[in-house]
């Protein structure tokens, strides 16, 4: 027996359907444009190549961390250990970057590996130990800081070779950290949108039980996300060490919070399953532009903190208001 004719499913405008995922980002883009225009009028220096490159350089480390932690947030987790991992990996990389020591790939690889190891440890506890991500990564935050201090004897590790400090430099006027961020973001975007594992990341965050029932190995997906996030923190640590030409065991304090803020401003849901790298980049850019603007307008750095806090809450509040 055929079912009765059913006129109930709605047919929303196809155009709206196509645009829907971008509407979110549209808000941030508009904010960026408005602030950009405002700053261009109010300050003579904002809209200059050198300043814009400066903004890009300033956001690169936060951007790399934010892209990495996007994976973790998409699975519905969180990583609070990023700042400490940045310090640890910076110290590790710097220690192996002696001018007449190993070739530069060695400190880079070791830094990334150290980060990945921290992330993998988080992943093991979260995925199979059933420890809440908040707790597991909070523990790692302290452990990684301790390891950084232990490894460096509590002192900054300087005397880095030129090949290493070159990472903090420029190629054809474009800062290398910015190129690294671009590469990392592009690869992550491709990964999340085009690969099977990327799809699984969304599925696990969107409904873990359904993902498991669909035959996805939820543990492996989480493990992957935390490990990748740690590796990217390692990369960020190397970039930071190269820029300040030392491995600082006390560096990176509270970096994880800026990174998470950028992801959340970019529209990724803290409960997982919704969002992406594009939004994260825009979020990091928005934070960077506002910081830069406040600098240019000689606003005290005390106010900058207050403004940043308001933006984080304001962005998420607007986001919530737009959702049913």
């Amino acid at each position: 027996m055929p079912c009765p004719p059913d006129a109930r499913p709605a047919r929303p405008s196809p155009l709206l359907e196509v645009l829907r995922p971008y509407l979110q980002s549209l808000g941030i883009v508009m904010a960026l444009v408005v602030i950009g225009v405002y700053l261009s009028i109010m300050t003579p220096t904002f809209l200059t190549t050198s300043n814009l490159i400066n903004v890009a350089r300033q956001i690169s480390i936060n951007g790399i961390l934010a892209v990495g932690v996007t994976f973790v947030l998409l699975t519905g987790g969180v990583d609070l250990s990023l700042g400490s991992v940045v310090a640890l990996t910076g110290v590790v990389a710097a220690s192996f970057a002696h001018p007449d020591g190993y070739p530069v790939v060695v400190p880079i690889l070791l830094g990334i590996l150290a980060g990945a190891a921290c992330g993998a440890t988080n992943g093991v506890f979260v995925a199979w130990g059933r420890v809440a991500p908040f707790i597991a990564t909070l523990g790692m935050m302290t452990v990684a800081r301790g390891l950084a201090l232990l490894f460096s004897g509590g002192r900054p590790v300087s005397n880095m070779g030129p090949a290493m400090t070159r990472i903090g430099g420029e190629v054809a006027d474009i800062p290398i950290p910015v190129l690294i961020l671009g590469g990392v973001a592009a690869a992550s975007w491709l990964f999340l949108t085009q690969t099977r594992l990327g799809r699984y990341v969304y599925a696990v965050g969107g409904n873990e039980n359904a993902a498991r029932a669909a035959g996805i190995s939820v543990g492996r997906v989480k493990m992957f996300a935390y490990t990748l996030c740690g590796a990217m923190a390692g990369l960020a640590g190397i970039v930071l060490a190269a820029r300040i030409t030392t491995g600082q065991p006390n560096a990176g304090v509270a970096y994880e919070l800026d990174a998470i803020a950028a992801v959340v401003i970019g529209g990724t849901s803290l409960s997982g399953g919704i969002g992406g790298v594009g939004g994260t980049l825009l979020g990091a850019l928005l934070m960077g532009v506002i910081n830069n603007g406040l600098d240019l307008m000689n606003v005290s750095s005390y106010y900058q903190q207050i403004v940043k806090g308001c933006i984080i809450v304001g962005a998420v509040w607007l986001d919530r208001r737009n959702k049913p």
Binding site: M1, C3, P4, D6, A7, R8, P9, A10, R11, P12, P14, E17, V18, Q194, T195, R196, L197, R199, Y200, Y202, A203, G206, N207, N209, A210, A211, R212, A213, A214, G215, I216, S217, S269, G273, I274, P324
Partner: protein, 563 residues
């Protein structure tokens, strides 16, 4: 059938029109949204009720109304859509003081939506609500309460660590004149008085935690009285209580009627309607089928109105031939869930699994699918022993599970229809790690056509679909992995009757294609009509194997009930 429904509509329309004219002539409907009149002060401010029963009865029929039969509440042409899906269209409902009005319809017919609109949980998209002839807007549960509309939810929401008295008078605590301190003695006495009005005796100092569901219900109803509710909505109040408690509830309802309260009563139990209701409104697919005095109906006719067709047309004929054993289980057990379960299912056979909730059926199939592996026992698939430790193992062995709870285990709500359908079979449409989009879209579109999933496109977010279509998405995902053994756990729960019939068609088709089907259902007519063989589970064990052709619902229940 259709003619009868249309006739009902016409009757209803006429009645409404008559009422409408009466109201427009009799009084000019206040354009203001809320009642601010003194007559309605009792509803307005909701203080600790001090109104004696006599004055309360006057209250329910304000004296300046020209006709005593002006309805207590009238909902006219109410409509509501969720994310573009029309849940309710042009539905009207008229409640008279002191009457029980049964609201009937299949799951998804729109009963809950209508009630949630009246209770202020959803704003309606269309139509208007009149209270004693006055237009009102019920914008929040709080406002509903102030207007005298109370809803007793199916899932009760008491505060477990407060006492009975504190729950009854939550938000209306009598206070001492100073500092707003709660007058505990007055609180207990008032609670006792309100419960007494319902003829219920409960220890008011007990914590809610220790109460039975039925007792909590009584507390909720007393709570409604504390707010001077004149309209009490009960959503399947007898679903989770024993027969004796049902009798007690009916006495409470009689007490409410006596006090001039209008009661909206939602139930799936036919017998109750004919016992306590005076009027019946039937909804189907979000539309108003008709409103009838209960005397005009009998059970058969009521079912036909709800379903919209004769029942025997619903279930397709079972498959004819059976093949070899597809899956056999020996001595399966899992601590605290089920034990010593052995059975087999053949190709082309539909094996029904009946039993009460909590009998271990869902746990059993979860163990077959590797969601929570069994502690003991063995599983053979096509005669070969199989170890199933996770769903991926099960899928590799050709087992597919359509899970019971769509939102918990079925769908990823933020993903679109296509992504949900292909979630288990992405490997088949990938090149290395990369997803082949075109192939994925083609697979999804074929499923959408094959199962007649109604969607604006495979890119539509799955949470926007109706329940039945969401269920079909879950089925589509399961079938896409090409299972030879298909397990369906309550596949028709919470979906409308049209979708149900389609699901029955899918099950029959699977059996014809030679797949082994295991069907869990708590709907006895469904499981008896769809299955070739029925196993009954009771308290974690197999209690009986029955031939659906030679058994009855009563016999199944006999085996399902704990001794």
């Amino acid at each position: 059938m259709e003619a009868a429904g249309a006739g009902g509509d016409a009757r209803q329309d006429l009645a409404i029109r008559r009422l409408e004219s009466a109201v427009t002539v009799g009084l000019s409907p206040d354009s203001g949204i809320l009642c601010h009149d003194d007559e309605n002060a009792g509803l307005e401010s909701c203080p600790v009720p001090r109104i004696e029963p006599e004055s309360r009865r006057e209250l329910s029929v304000p004296d300046h109304l020209p006709e005593t039969e002006a309805p207590l509440l009238e909902a006219r042409h109410v409509g509501k859509a969720f994310a573009g899906v029309q849940a309710l269209a042009d539905v009207s409902l008229t409640l008279q003081a002191g009457q029980v009005h049964a609201l009937m319809g299949e799951n998804g017919a729109g009963k809950s939506t209508l009630m949630r609109i009246l209770a202020g949980l959803h704003p309606p998209d269309a139509g208007e609500i009149l209270l004693s002839g006055r237009r009102v807007a019920v914008r929040s549960p709080h406002e509903a309460m102030r207007l005298g509309i109370a809803m007793i939810h199916q899932e009760l929401m008491p505060i477990p660590d407060l006492t009975v008295a504190e729950n009854v008078l939550l938000g209306h605590e009598p206070t001492l004149p100073l500092l707003g301190w709660i007058n505990r003695r007055a609180l207990r006495e008032e609670a006792r008085r309100l419960l007494g009005l319902l003829g219920a005796e409960l220890p008011v100092h007990r914590r809610m935690r220790g109460l039975s569901v039925a007792q909590m219900q009584t507390v909720e109803i007393a709570k409604a009285l504390a707010c001077d509710a004149r309209i009490v909505i009960m959503d399947e109040p007898t679903a989770a209580i024993s027969d004796r408690e049902v009798e007690a509830l009916f006495r409470v309802i009689a007490a409410l009627k006596e006090r001039g309260v209008a009661i909206v009563y939602i139930t799936h139990r036919m017998g109750e309607v004919f016992r306590i209701a005076q009027t019946v409104t039937v909804l189907r697919d979000g539309r108003h089928v008709g409103t009838y005095p209960v005397g005009e109906l009998d059970e058969r006719r009521l079912i036909a109105l709800m379903v919209g067709r004769e029942l025997n047309a619903v279930f397709p004929a079972p498959a004819a031939s059976r093949g070899s054993v597809a899956l056999s289980a020996q001595g399966l057990g899992r601590a605290g869930a089920f034990r010593d379960v052995s059975f087999e299912v053949r190709q082309g056979e539909v094996l029904g699994l009946a039993g009460l909730m909590g009998a271990g059926r869902t746990e059993l199939v979860h163990s077959l699918f590797g969601l929570m592996p069994a502690d003991t026992g063995t599983i053979h698939i096509h005669g070969k022993p199989a170890r199933i430790r996770c769903p991926a193992d099960a899928i590799r062995h050709g087992i597919g599970l359509v899970t019971e709870d769509r939102s918990e285990y079925g769908l990823v709500p933020a993903m679109n229809v296509r992504q949900n359908i292909t979630l288990s079979t992405l490997r088949a449409c990938s090149l290395g790690p990369l997803i082949r989009r075109l192939r994925e879209a083609r697979l999804a579109d074929a499923s959408i056509r094959g199962l007649a999933i109604r969607t604006s496109g495979s890119g539509q977010v799955v949470s926007q679909l109706s329940g039945g279509n969401q269920q079909k998405v879950v089925i589509a995902r399961t079938l896409l992995s090409g299972p030879q053994i298909v397990i369906l756990d309550e596949p028709t729960r919470g979906i409308d009757v049209g979708a149900k019939i389609e699901v029955y068609g899918i099950i029959a088709r699977l059996a014809r294609e030679g797949k082994a089907v295991i069907l869990i259902s708590s709907d006895l007519p469904e499981v008896l009509s769809m299955s070739d063989r029925v196993l009954v589970m009771r308290e974690g064990k197999l209690a009986a194997e029955l031939d659906p052709a030679r058994t009855s619902q009563e016999e199944v229940l006999e085996h399902a009930m704990p001794a």
